[in-house]
Symmetry: C2
Subunit: 168 residues, 2 copies
């Protein structure tokens, strides 16, 4: 089984959720290495490459700019972590960032849960269409409802866009 399956750019785009144009763009800016070509010049992708693209998609989803994604790929490529202490430092600091981002996100989840809870007992008379906040896909709702990080977003006032006409 030396025959590793290969994919066209179209198939790759379908599998990764990243458009063909974008994949080519990533290659152009050298975020991705130049893909191998068939004799006719068409790009070919292997599982390896698809994984890389998936990693990019994953990091991107979290709001990381492409330039910050770059070092990740270098690391994942050669599996050569500690050789460049600079890179290791980079990794550590990114780890920090991500952890704090997770905390941010968790805060937002808590915020939503509170809002959803509020709504829950505030009505409980109307139709129950699709109720049930916490028993859905995630079985990992934290036991404590509010995260440690102060959660000050509560007394937020917005009402944006409706300042009495004088805005403009």
């Amino acid at each position: 089984m030396k025959e590793e399956q290969i994919f066209s750019i179209k198939e790759t785009a379908e599998q990764t959720g990243i458009s063909e144009d974008t994949i080519r763009y990533y290659e152009k800016i050298a975020l991705l290495p130049r893909a191998d070509r068939k004799d006719n010049g068409h790009r070919v992708y292997r599982q390896e490459n698809i994984n890389t693209i998936r990693l990019i998609a994953c990091l991107k989803k979290t709001g990381m700019p492409l330039e910050e994604i770059r070092p990740f790929l270098v690391v994942s490529a050669d599996a050569d972590p500690a050789e460049y202490p600079e890179l290791v430092e980079h990794l550590r600091s990114h780890r920090e960032n991500i952890i704090s981002q997770i905390a941010s996100l968790q805060q937002v989840v808590d915020f939503i849960d509170i809002k959803l809870e509020e709504g829950r007992y505030q009505r409980d008379c109307s139709d129950e269409s699709q109720a049930g906040v916490s028993e859905k896909t995630m079985g990992e709702l934290k036991p404590k409802p509010v995260s440690t990080v102060e959660m000050s977003y509560f007394s937020v006032s917005a009402k944006a866009g409706n300042s009495s006409s004088s805005a403009r």
Copy 2:
């Protein structure tokens, strides 16, 4: 103590990490409500408003576009969750998104940890400058090192930007 403390736009920018320009910009696009003005026309901000801006910053940090942030502020503003079932749906689906984003991020953290571990025993001879991955700001490192979500990024191949000269 009816005297609630107020802040200038400069102070607000300092407190939230969002620049004055950006705060004004948010007001312009009605992401933020029009801030009250002093007699001289200068904007004033109260704790409430600062919290809103902090919430925006928090959501932004997670990669959420401003247009998606908008509905969050509406909710946080009036504390009127269940009144608009559409909005509740919005909240739920965002909650889902965020949960999956957390999972993504956790995967990346795991990925980094593995890379860092690799490096750790691969060297362990050089200087220990700032070693110690897990005993820093976060005391909540998950017990299991790899998350449930397959973690396929491992066999990634990148080496971007060094395709033998022919690229471009």
